[in-house]
C-alpha cells in the first residue's frame, strides 16, 4: 500500500495528499490525525466562532457582521421553508450544519497554503451517505411500506412499470454517488486547475503574466463555485428530505 503513496511534489495532485501528523490506532482502526482532520475542526471552529461572536451585541439594527450571520441563518431557513415546508423545521440544525461545514471547508480551502477537506471523495461520500440514510430512514418511519410507492410513478401503464421501477430504484441508490461526486469533482478540478496554471506562471517566465491574470480570474470563479457547490449540496439535501417526507416526485 505504501508503494502507492508516492507522488511527485511538483504534481498538481500533491496538494491533495493529506499525510499523517501522528499514528493513532484504536482497536485496529486508523484514527491518525492529519491536515484533513485539522481543517475539519478549523471549519467547525470558524463557523461557530463567527456565528457566536457576530451575534454577541444582539443589535436590533444589525451591523455588517451580524447581518452576515442573519443572512446565513435565514438563507437556510428560507430554503427549507420553500422546498420542504413547515415539516422541515426539525431538520434545520442538520441542514444548517451541513451547509456551514461544506461552505466553510470550501472557502477555507481557497486560502493560500490551506487544504480543501471537500476535495476528498471519502468526505463527500460520507456526507452524502448521511443524507441518504437519514432520508431513507425518515421515508420508512413516516410511510412504512407505503414508502415503496415512491418507486412507482402514478399513471404509468403496467408494462412500462417493469422498466420504470428498476430505473427509479437504481436512480434512488445512485443519489449519494451523484450527490458526493459533484462536490468532490468540482473542488478537485478547481484546485488542480489553479495549480496547473500556477506552474505555467513559473515556467513561462515573463509571459507568465498571462496565466497569472487567468489565475486571478479563476480564483474569483473558484470562490463563487465554493459557495455555489455548498448551496447545491444543501438544496439537494432539502429536495431529498422533501421526497422522503411528502413522497412526491
Amino acid at each position: 500500500m505504501s508503494v502507492e503513496r508516492h507522488i511527485d511534489h511538483s504534481s498538481p495532485m500533491y496538494q491533495f495528499v493529506i499525510g499523517r501528523l501522528n499514528d493513532w490506532q484504536l482497536g485496529g482502526l486508523d484514527i491518525s490525525f492529519s491536515k484533513a482532520a485539522a481543517f475539519m475542526f478549523g471549519a467547525v471552529i470558524v463557523a461557530t466562532l463567527f456565528l457566536v461572536l457576530t451575534t454577541s451585541k444582539r443589535a436590533i439594527v444589525p451591523g455588517r457582521w451580524q447581518s452576515v450571520s442573519e443572512l446565513w441563518y435565514e438563507f437556510i431557513a428560507d430554503m427549507i421553508k420553500e422546498t420542504i415546508g413547515s415539516e422541515g423545521r426539525k431538520y434545520f440544525p442538520f441542514v444548517f450544519s451541513l451547509f456551514s461545514f461544506i461552505v466553510m471547508c470550501n472557502l477555507i480551502g481557497m486560502l493560500p497554503y490551506s487544504y480543501t477537506v471537500t476535495s476528498h471523495i471519502a468526505v463527500t461520500i460520507m456526507l452524502a451517505l448521511s443524507v441518504f440514510v437519514l432520508t431513507t430512514f425518515i421515508g420508512i418511519t413516516r410511510h412504512g411500506t407505503n414508502f415503496l410507492s415512491f418507486f412507482v410513478p402514478k399513471g404509468v401503464p403496467f408494462v412500462m412499470l417493469l422498466l420504470v421501477v428498476p430505473i427509479e430504484v437504481l436512480s434512488y441508490f445512485m443519489r449519494p454517488i451523484s450527490h458526493s461526486v459533484r462536490l468532490f469533482a468540482n473542488m478537485t478540478a478547481g484546485h488542480t486547475m489553479l495549480k496547473v496554471f500556477g506552474s505555467f506562471v513559473v515556467q513561462m517566465g515573463v509571459f507568465g503574466v498571462l496565466p497569472f491574470a487567468l489565475i486571478v480570474a479563476l480564483t474569483g470563479l473558484e470562490v463563487a463555485i465554493a459557495v455555489l457547490q455548498a448551496y447545491v449540496f444543501t438544496i439537494l439535501t432539502c429536495l431529498y428530505l422533501n421526497d422522503a417526507i411528502h413522497l412526491e416526485h
Binding site: 503513496r5 486508523d30 492529519s34 475539519m40
Partner: protein, 166 residues
C-alpha cells in the same frame, strides 16, 4: 490521485464524524438559538413598534376629532356673538337715532319759540316806533297834539289792515 488512497479513508471518516457531530451540537445548542433570539427580538420589537404606532395614531385621531369639534363649537359661538352684537348695535343705533331726533325736535321747537318771541318783540317795538313816528308826523303836519290813545288805535288799525300780525 491521493483521493483514492484507501488507507486515508478511515482516518478522514473518523474525524469527519467527530467534527461534524461537534459542529451539529454547537450549531443546534449554541449558535442557532443565538441567531434565532436576535431575529425574534427584532421581530418582537418591530411588532411592538407597530402596535405603539397604531396606538399613537388612534390617540392623534382622537385629538384631531376633539380639536375639530372644539373648532366647530367655537365657530358657532362666534357666529352667535356676531349676531348678538349686530342686534345690539342695531338697537343702540335706533335708540341713538330716536334720542337725536328728540333733541333736534326740542331744539327746533325752542328755536321756533325764540323766533316767535323775537318777532313779537320786533312787532311791539315797531308798534311803539310807528306810534311815536305817527304822533310826531301829525304834530309837524297839522300842529295838533294827537292824544296817545288815538295814535295807538290808529297804529293798531293800520297794522292789522296791513297784515303785520302773527
Amino acid at each position: 490521485m491521493p483521493q483514492f488512497w484507501m488507507e486515508d479513508f478511515a482516518p478522514q471518516i473518523v474525524w469527519l464524524v467527530i467534527s461534524f457531530i461537534a459542529l451539529y451540537l454547537l450549531m443546534a445548542r449554541v449558535a442557532l438559538p443565538r441567531v434565532a433570539n436576535v431575529l425574534e427580538a427584532r421581530h418582537g420589537r418591530i411588532a411592538d413598534d407597530l402596535d405603539q404606532a397604531a396606538q399613537l395614531k388612534s390617540q392623534a385621531e382622537t385629538v384631531i376629532s376633539e380639536y375639530e369639534a372644539a373648532l366647530v363649537k367655537a365657530r358657532a359661538e362666534a357666529q352667535a356673538t356676531i349676531a348678538q352684537a349686530g342686534i345690539e348695535a342695531a338697537s343702540a343705533a335706533e335708540k341713538r337715532n330716536a334720542e337725536v331726533a328728540d333733541v333736534l325736535a326740542t331744539e327746533a321747537a325752542a328755536a321756533a319759540d325764540r323766533i316767535a318771541t323775537a318777532k313779537n318783540d320786533a312787532l311791539a317795538e315797531m308798534r311803539g316806533v310807528a306810534a311815536e313816528l305817527a304822533k310826531a308826523a301829525a304834530e309837524r303836519l297839522i300842529g295838533a297834539d294827537v292824544p296817545q290813545a288815538d295814535v295807538d288805535a290808529a297804529v293798531d288799525g293800520a297794522m292789522t289792515t296791513n297784515g303785520g300780525g302773527s
